[in-house]
């Protein structure tokens, strides 16, 4: 743990920032415009901008310029899981992925269910300096699903928590879920639900269907997700609260959220990059790098979540970046940990699955990976459109290179990427956090 003194000396905000002129890129993939960043703010956007005295000029020709990405669903593992990831390593991974903010999930040891823990996580993020870290608070004490944690204390702490989740576990007690939804209204919070009926998924190992029948692995049925989402949208409507659905993965879930939105329920939903590409067919090799919760579904589900993301039923892409040490994955399938890393491949996956077939424009990508996640998380400093006066959180993305994914190159402390060996498009040319480069040409800028 860093001391306060070390934290302040490591804090990059202490030293002055030189102006940055991003020249010749295409904001939102549209017309070529220069973007000038001065003093942590977007100073100007326009054609052939003049470089001020001392400005660094970045050649962004051929690149897309986007607002810095915001991840609503990240497992940084600290405190307690430092073998898998730390705030330092996880936020470096985030910066490499083009993120300028992540929401750190609460299932740490100790659980982030008190003001003390969430403030510690936020402080660690500030001192690391690679991206903003917004802690997510647990809904229930110890994620045990029995009684509410002190949500108000976390909301009014210095971490200003607005997203609450027992992610990894479902708030399955309907009364407790109702109370949580009601309680967070007073500070404009949101409950982010991990939708999984625990009784329907006892011992579950993979999506229940044709492949699980053949492999003899216990099934995780789609209905275990859909029934909780259906209940929760009705509860949210009944009490007039905001609900966010984590890592929605089935065609039925898309239908339920679409129906709820038509009824005016204040529900938002996320899909992970891996659920946009991979299917239960990937389980056939029994390689636990493909073990994740919710499980990889069928090709029909993949098509439905892509369609839901394209038509706005699904609001955002969130990584569910879930690092694990190698020993947790080098095991028999039913004994291996669930989860995949995702921060450093997320935008490539979205480009591959959504942009390249024309279902999302780059402006849409900014909406689902920056603007909306910041709105849901009430991140006032993040997710702003690229316009003069906005905070200088910027990503310069070159969509042209095709590269074979090598988890060995990742900044994450863990290597459990299911995309290892897969050729994916795009590379991060530059991530800028509050005017200061955190990543250049894919490499973290040491400070």
């Amino acid at each position: 743990m860093r001391t306060e003194t070390a934290a302040s000396s490591a804090n990059p905000a202490a030293s002055p920032i030189s102006p940055l002129l991003i020249r010749g890129g295409r904001p939102y993939g549209e017309d070529v415009r220069d973007v000038l960043l001065v003093d942590g703010t977007i100073e100007a956007i326009g054609a052939d901008l003049h470089a001020p005295e001392g400005a660094e000029i970045i050649d962004a020709s051929g690149c897309i310029v986007l607002p810095g990405l915001v991840d609503l669903h990240t497992h940084l593992r600290e405190p307690g899981g430092e073998e898998a990831e730390t705030v330092e390593s996880g936020t470096r991974a985030a910066a490499r992925g083009g993120f300028t903010a992540v929401h750190a999930m609460a299932n740490t040891t100790p659980v982030a269910d008190t003001a003390g823990v969430v403030e510690q996580v936020a402080r660690s993020g500030d001192s690391a300096g690679w991206c903003a870290v917004r802690p997510v608070g647990a809904v229930t004490v110890g994620l045990a699903g029995e009684r509410l944690a002190e949500l108000d204390a976390m909301a009014n702490s210095r971490a200003k928590v607005r997203v609450f989740s027992d992610d990894g576990k479902c708030v399955h007690d309907p009364v407790l879920m109702r109370r949580a939804l009601e309680y967070v209204k007073s500070f404009d919070g949101v409950i982010a639900q991990h939708a999984q009926d625990p009784r329907l998924t006892e011992g579950a190992q993979m999506h229940e269907g044709v492949v699980s029948a053949e492999l003899g692995l216990a099934g995780w049925p789609a209905v275990a997700e859909e029934s909780i989402i259906a209940r929760d949208v009705l509860l949210a409507q009944h009490v007039g609260s905001r609900l966010h659905v984590c890592h929605l993965s089935t065609a039925g879930s898309v239908d339920i959220v679409r129906w709820a939105k038509q009824r005016g329920v204040a529900v938002t939903a996320e899909v992970t990059p891996h659920h946009l590409l991979l299917t239960d067919e990937n389980v056939r090799q029994f390689d636990a790098v493909f073990k994740v919760n919710p499980p990889l579904r069928t090709a029909e589900d993949v098509e439905a979540v892509r369609e839901g993301l394209a038509d706005g039923t699904i609001d955002i892409v969130a990584t569910d970046h879930a690092p694990h040490p190698r020993d947790a994955k080098d095991r028999e399938w039913d004994q291996a940990a669930m989860g995949m890393t995702g921060l450093e491949t997320a935008l490539s996956l979205v480009q591959r699955t959504m942009v390249e077939d024309g279902r999302l424009s780059w402006r849409d990508v900014a909406r689902v990976m920056s603007q909306k996640p910041a709105e849901i998380g009430r991140d006032e400093d993040q997710g702003h459109p690229l316009e003069p006066g906005a905070p200088a959180h910027v990503l310069v993305w070159d969509p042209r290179p095709q590269r074979v994914t090598d988890p060995g190159e990742h900044a994450s402390r863990s290597r459990n990427s299911p995309f290892a060996g897969l050729e994916l498009p795009g590379t991060n040319r530059l991530t800028v956090l509050a005017g200061r480069p955190t990543v250049r040409d894919g490499a973290v800028v040491e400070h």
């Binding site: 699980s212 492999l215 004994q335």
Partner: protein
């Protein structure tokens, strides 16, 4: 054939070749000296993470009759029960110089993982992995079926034969391997089970599903294979209301057995629960081949070890 993991890895010719070798092995076992020198100097490790006396003994007998040395490594009382991982166990066996590993595990995919993880280079034989597959059981069932229903045929399949498999299909690796192998060999397979013990997604299997045992038996099948009800794997409970109701609906009673055609045979992979899934009198009746299945198991496992370890594998076995 590098490993013996799944029936899905075999084509029909390979399956028939293993059966042919098993027939050769069976012949040698009627001689006064039953031990063959084929695998002298080879070490076969039986790596059993699940209790299974009968399968372990069968593999041990098969290896010993081929003159291999056998090391039994069972989870209980070993380093595995102290928390050692499959990976470390595999690395240990590799370092000790095992020539083949026969693995039984409660985890579906364990044999596949051993064969493809890079932890160990030697041939892997799947002696049952979770609810996935038990390929040597299916081979011994096919061997037994052919001997009874195609007597004298040592080169053919099971074309035209109708086999009814009854019971806890959901948790059964025996059922999965048999559906694949029997249909590969040309048989028609009907599964009979209460709906909760049929896996969701079964529609992709190359067989027919019925919920009514009497309806299935009325078609006059050539063989009925009863499965053990695996209560220890029934997570969540509620698969059927009571043993009595299960037994009435799905038990092979003497009355039901009497309705079968005269030539029909009855199989059970064991261990069987008499009076529950099968009546004791049926298990002991002339149409029961349950004890013979045990003998077939040794021949088939000799054949599998032969194909994996003998230097002239896939040639005709030597008559010495």
């Amino acid at each position: 054939m590098r490993h013996f993991i799944s029936i899905a890895d075999l084509d029909r010719a390979e399956a028939i070749a293993v059966l042919a070798t098993a027939e050769h092995m069976a012949e040698t076992q009627s001689r006064s000296i039953r031990k063959l020198p084929t695998l002298v100097g080879a070490t076969v490790v039986n790596l059993f993470f699940e209790d299974s006396t009968r399968t372990r003994i069968s593999f041990e007998a098969a290896a010993k009759r081929l003159s291999a040395d056998v090391i039994n490594f069972s989870a209980k009382g070993s380093s595995v029960s102290k928390g050692e991982s499959l990976k470390d166990t595999a690395l240990t066996l590799q370092a000790m110089g095992a020539d083949a590993v026969v693995v039984r595990s409660g985890s579906s995919g364990a044999a596949h993982l051993l064969a493809h993880s890079g932890w160990i280079d030697q041939p892997i034989v799947n002696a049952g992995d979770g609810a996935h597959e038990h390929p040597t059981q299916a081979m011994l069932d096919a061997f037994t079926l052919r001997r009874h229903l195609r007597p004298g045929d040592r080169t053919g399949g099971l074309d035209g034969i109708h086999v009814v498999i009854v019971g806890d299909v959901l948790h059964s690796r025996v059922a999965r391997s048999n559906v694949l192998l029997l249909t590969l060999l040309g048989a028609r397979v009907t599964l009979v089970a209460p709906p909760a013990l049929v896996p969701v997604g079964v529609s992709a299997w190359p067989c027919e599903i019925l919920y009514d045992l009497d309806e299935a038996l009325a078609t006059g099948p050539d063989a009925v294979m009863m499965l053990r009800v695996q209560r220890e794997r029934m997570v969540g409970g509620g698969f059927f209301p009571t043993e009595g109701e299960y037994s009435r609906r799905y038990g092979l009673t003497t009355v039901r057995a009497a309705s079968l055609p005269a030539h029909s045979i009855v199989l059970h992979p064991g261990p069987m629960i008499r009076g529950f899934e099968i009546a004791g009198d049926v298990a002991d009746s002339p149409r029961s081949v349950i004890v013979e299945q045990v003998a077939s198991g040794v021949f088939v496992r000799m054949a599998v070890l032969y194909h994996l370890l003998a230097t002239d594998a896939w040639e005709a076995p030597r008559e010495n």
